[in-house]
Symmetry: C2
Subunit: 212 residues, 2 copies
């Protein structure tokens, strides 16, 4: 049985992935936990512990092969899969996500944008037509959509989530400032921008107090 991996570890994986890609682009093919520690800012001990949750990717006396480790972490993150994705809410944020090519490159294929406001329906973002949220459930079922990105105002987010769940979505990337109520087999990742900004505000305040 697979060992339980804590969220703290999981959230470090994408960062390893990013730094390893960087190293590859700089043509560095071998790295020790100590060297990686110096550029990524985690302790060498933590890096070895983290990686050993998933298997022994290193070699004593040598370190880690950058390309191999990059690929392995990619697999652990599920980046070898392709996920059909839709975006709900075609406001600025929805459009920004639709336009960011990095997500597509990582295997998140954005198939359509949905919107409730009739003024937007029928318009196009890149190649993507904006569709009426009324037909969303059918679209998800017919096109085997796995992931939905919620970029609606908070008032409609739970409603949209309920529709997504009914249509059989597996995962939700939620940008609305609410905590969605979901069945436990649906995975959710929240991006609460206001909470992030308020954290910055707290830290700024702290700093100002310290200087006084």
């Amino acid at each position: 049985m697979a060992k339980h991996i804590s969220m703290a570890v999981i959230r470090r994986l994408p960062k390893y992935h990013r730094y390893l890609k960087d190293l590859l682009e700089r043509d560095i093919h071998r790295i020790s936990s100590k060297e990686l520690s110096e550029i990524i800012g985690f302790t060498a001990s933590q890096i070895r512990q983290d990686l050993n949750n998933f298997g022994g990717f290193g070699q004593q006396g040598y370190g880690y092969n950058v390309e191999e480790l990059y690929n392995e972490i990619g697999k652990i993150l599920g980046l070898n899969n392709v996920y059909k994705t839709i975006i709900v809410g075609a406001g600025n944020l929805g459009q920004a996500i639709a336009n960011y090519s990095g997500f597509q490159k990582s295997g998140f294929e954005i198939k359509a944008l949905f919107e409730a406001n009739p003024r937007f329906i029928g318009l196009k973002i890149r190649e993507l037509e904006i569709l009426d949220v009324e037909i969303m459930e059918d679209y998800i079922k017919e096109n085997d959509i796995k992931i939905a990105v919620i970029c609606t105002p908070k008032e409609s987010a739970q409603d949209v989530a309920d529709k997504l769940v009914r249509a059989g979505i597996n995962g939700i990337w939620n940008f609305a400032p609410v905590d969605l109520e979901l069945p436990e087999d649906v995975v959710v990742e929240n991006v609460h921008l206001t909470e992030s900004l308020f954290t910055l505000s707290y830290l700024l305040n702290e700093k100002n107090k310290a200087t006084k």
Copy 2:
């Protein structure tokens, strides 16, 4: 001397703030840690511990006054201040942030957008003119800007950050997928969207393995 507050606690504060606002809007004026626990999903014990880092806001036998607690947490987060803010990078994401009225309402006054691409310079987003990033340093100094939001591609983010630091900015809200090198008196809060999406991807994968 002020007691040290851990990041875990700090990151929960905006969530308390959000739920307390909700309660106020629903005309609930009094709440116990136990009741709050049930709606916010932290343990009652944790809630009391968290709040007591900042002072005794409750009353034995009664609980907490919602409005008072909401205001106190707002003050702790520094939301009674107004911060002059600029956005660097006028792509979709920069525009999305400029257009979101919630940030303005919380005291983050967006004063200008800066952009390197001449095609965008001079255009307007709402009332905001897009300015040339070349004049950014002077603008910051002349207008007493405290916060900058970085929405540039990753290649220019560190360069922009260096300019911001030189001009005397206090805090950076960074959306570029890099870890910025900054002097320690400049506060930074990262929003790494790709890391968030990859976390969702991991969790989806995990779930699928479990069902098999």
